[in-house]
């Protein structure tokens, strides 16, 4: 079963995160992701970045991943 922990590791493996939280029940997941890589990017581009890091897992294992994507400045402010 997909766990929040495995999703967190998957995201961290491809994206330098200042902070990350993932919660979920094995089907639906919620994540707060704080990364400097989001700076200057639109919301759509930020989510696409995370989807790209998760790759095929997004199609095969993860039914739903709700995300808040913030830069360190937005997170702190």
């Amino acid at each position: 079963m997909t766990t929040p922990e495995s999703i967190r590791k998957g995201i961290e493996g491809g994206l330098d995160c200042k902070h990350i939280e993932v919660a979920g029940d094995g089907q639906h997941f919620e994540a707060v992701i704080v990364s400097a890589a989001f700076a200057g990017k639109s919301r759509v581009q930020r989510h696409q970045l995370v989807y790209a890091v998760l790759g095929e897992r997004m199609r095969e294992e993860i039914h739903a991943l709700s995300m808040r994507t913030l830069t360190p400045e937005e997170w702190g402010g």
Binding site: R43, V44, H47, Q48, Y51, M58, R59, A64, L65, S66, M67, R68
Partner: protein
């Protein structure tokens, strides 16, 4: 006509298009239900919707169209706006209301 052409045609010929699971009256997924509620709260009472559960080719094709792996997906004036998280954030911030100003539903 390829499925990508069909989608391009749909998003070009309607100002507001929501790809969703189920119908506005009977959404089949909580995220699609929320997307419809957001649009209705902003006065788009009858957006043009496409039920991807009724059309497997569009269900697959729409993920490639916007390089976006999840549904719902909202398009306004032919532009991809986002999925349910982004719709909720833009609703709360007032950005979605602004984007819908002057848009004729349907």
């Amino acid at each position: 006509m390829s499925i990508q052409d069909v989608i391009q045609e749909q998003v070009s010929s309607h100002q507001v298009v929501l790809y969703m699971k189920g119908s506005p009256q009977m959404p089949q997924c909580g995220f699609s239900a929320m997307a419809i509620q957001v649009l209705q709260a902003l006065g788009v009472s009858q957006p043009f919707t496409v039920d991807v559960l009724q059309n497997p080719e569009i269900r697959q094709g729409i993920k490639e169209f916007a390089n976006w792996p999840t549904i719902p997906q909202l398009y306004i004036k032919g532009e991809f706006v986002g999925g349910s998280d982004i719709m909720r954030e833009m609703y709360q911030s007032g950005e979605l209301k602004k984007l819908l100003e002057g848009v004729q539903a349907g």
